[in-house]
Amino acid sequence: MSLMRHEDERLITGAGKFTADWNLENQCHMAVLRSPHAHARVLKIDTAGAMQAEGVLLVLTAADITAARFNSIPSGPPIKGVDDQVIRKGEMPVLAIDRVRFTGQPVAVVIAESAVLASDACDLIEVDYDPLPAVVGAESAAMSDKPQLHPAVEQNKALTFESGSREAVDQAFNTAAKTASITIRSQRLYGAPLEPKAVLANYDEPRGMTMVYTPTQGVLGMQAALSAVTGIPTDELEIVSQDVGGSFGLRGGAGPEHALVILAARKLDRPVKWVAGRSELFSGEWHGRALKLEASIALDVNDHIVAMRYKDTVDLGAYNCYFGGFIGTNNLSVTMGGAYRVPALYMRSELMLTNTAPISAYRGAGRPDIAFAVERLIDHAAAEHKLDPVEFRRKNFIDKEDFPYTTANGTVYDCGDFHTVLDKALALADYESFESRNDVSKAAGKIRGIGVGYYVEKSGAGAAPKDQVSCRRWCVSPACGHRSFRSGA
């Protein structure tokens, strides 16, 4: 018998506690009204009909957020680009103030005695929109006929980032014996953890604590982000996420709904619960990827790599969110040379704002994307110049003796034995016998293929807060700041 996980028993018997499974006495329910437009002016919001509807307790619009002195959703650190330019930001308000910038952006919320009544009352809110032309597609976002999304972001260009040496790479390409180029599109997607996003908040008066039940992959990151939005000190915010139905990067930080539930619970002095429907999350939760990488490689006469160059177009969506800026900068550039000795490296990324859902982390957040681009580039160059894809890789691997190895753009790889790993992988795949197996398949009218890929990845986000167990005066339970991972996060 294999070793059983101690959490399995509750999960296989239906006794797990995901956020929607928590119910607090006297709780009421929130529903979110979202923008049906990609880009529009909000001229007027009439909540009178909703306020009079059955079971309705409260309706919140942007004016209530301003009155509560809540801040906008965290937009990430001040990443620097070319000429020390700091990233220009469009910060996402908790509720749209006078403009909506993506379909699915929260515009108002209703809190009622039941989830159904809250949802019904949302239909009674009248919003007067004046639709505007929308910017869709990062490549054309800077064109002169496109509207500017945010006052502080001219031509919708948030940042031009570069890494490595353009001069060294240009020189290497000018004198190269062979070159090859390929364009990789890493398509926009919605990560869709199976547990719908949910928040339950309650003000625990005797303890002076705001309790927030929500699925997250990082309790301390969530706590810090919610503190930044609401102004509640972190030591008065307790995050509970006992069972989490997947996160995949999306659930690392606060969204507008967390702040709204907290504000509603304060105003009503009752627990408030919000459980999203799947369809509203497809447009209303963070998206992932949305990258275009134009990659080139230069070789000398002996097929040694002399340079790699990348031109990236990075869609940030309508607002900078806490992780979006890392993807097109640090996470794409840090391992842009892959597992190879590359004397000259250069990457230039354009981070653009468009009228689409904001982009945040999803499963590696740029790192799988660059690994894919590197390996496709290697295979493409091998195919174009009739090189054996395995021998070409071997010839250019960073050798075991070269570690610690500093890449041309300054990343230190501490150790590695790429040849041995590749040997093992090829043996496991029975690579040598592929051709004969392929002949058999061909004779049977079937198609057989084989591919080689090798990647290195920088794990961890570096500057992100670390989860840790902390024992405090008022609480020594693991709920304070500890999470153990069970999901495919």
């Binding site: 996980r5 509750r10 296989i12 995901f18 929607a20 199976l194 547990e195 997947g246 369809s279």
Partner: protein, 168 residues
């Protein structure tokens, strides 16, 4: 409001529901059976799978009023006290779950699958669970769990038959 009477996990219940109320919401919110989950609202993910009159159904697209007179079994009914059902045991032993959100639906769908196909082929397993999504495991261990449960259930049946033979 409409009064509906049905059996849940072998107990008779009568609840007042709105005509539009979904069976899953009544199970979770009115009867406190939160082991049945809602993942998509649209019958895609299968997290809400329960058994109704012996057949696996998706309770997120079944109206509560449709359950009138029916017999409903949820994940909470499967274990017999501390004694786990062979399908539950197999999911844990074969690591057929990670986050566990899809698991109650997967298990309920598997129970029905193995009632209909006691020795399922790989194709039958895949078809039987086609209406249940998992975002963590990649399904390999779920298939293993189903096969392992099939073996365990067969062994149970054989033991029971043997015992019956002995007593006769």
């Amino acid at each position: 409001m409409k009064s509906v009477t049905f059996q849940v996990n072998a107990k008779s219940v009568t609840v007042d529901v709105e005509p539009r109320a979904l069976l899953v919401d009544v199970l979770r919110d009115q009867l406190g059976l939160t082991g049945t989950h809602v993942g998509c609202d649209t019958s895609q993910c299968g997290c809400c799978t329960v058994k109704m009159n012996g057949s696996a159904i998706k309770s997120c697209t079944t109206l509560a009023v449709q359950a009138e007179g029916a017999s409903i079994d949820t994940i909470e009914s499967l274990a017999n006290g501390d004694q786990l059902h062979p399908v539950q045991k197999a999911f844990s032993e074969c690591h057929g779950l990670q986050c566990g959100f899809c698991t109650p639906g997967m298990i309920m769908a598997t129970v029905e699958l193995l009632e209909q196909s006691p020795i399922p082929t790989t194709e039958e397993i895949r078809e039987g669970l086609a209406g249940n999504l998992c975002r963590c495991t990649g399904y390999v261990n779920i298939e293993r769990a189903v096969r392992s449960a099939a073996t365990a259930l067969r062994f149970e049946r054989e033991q029971a038959a043997k015992k019956q033979g002995e007593s006769v």
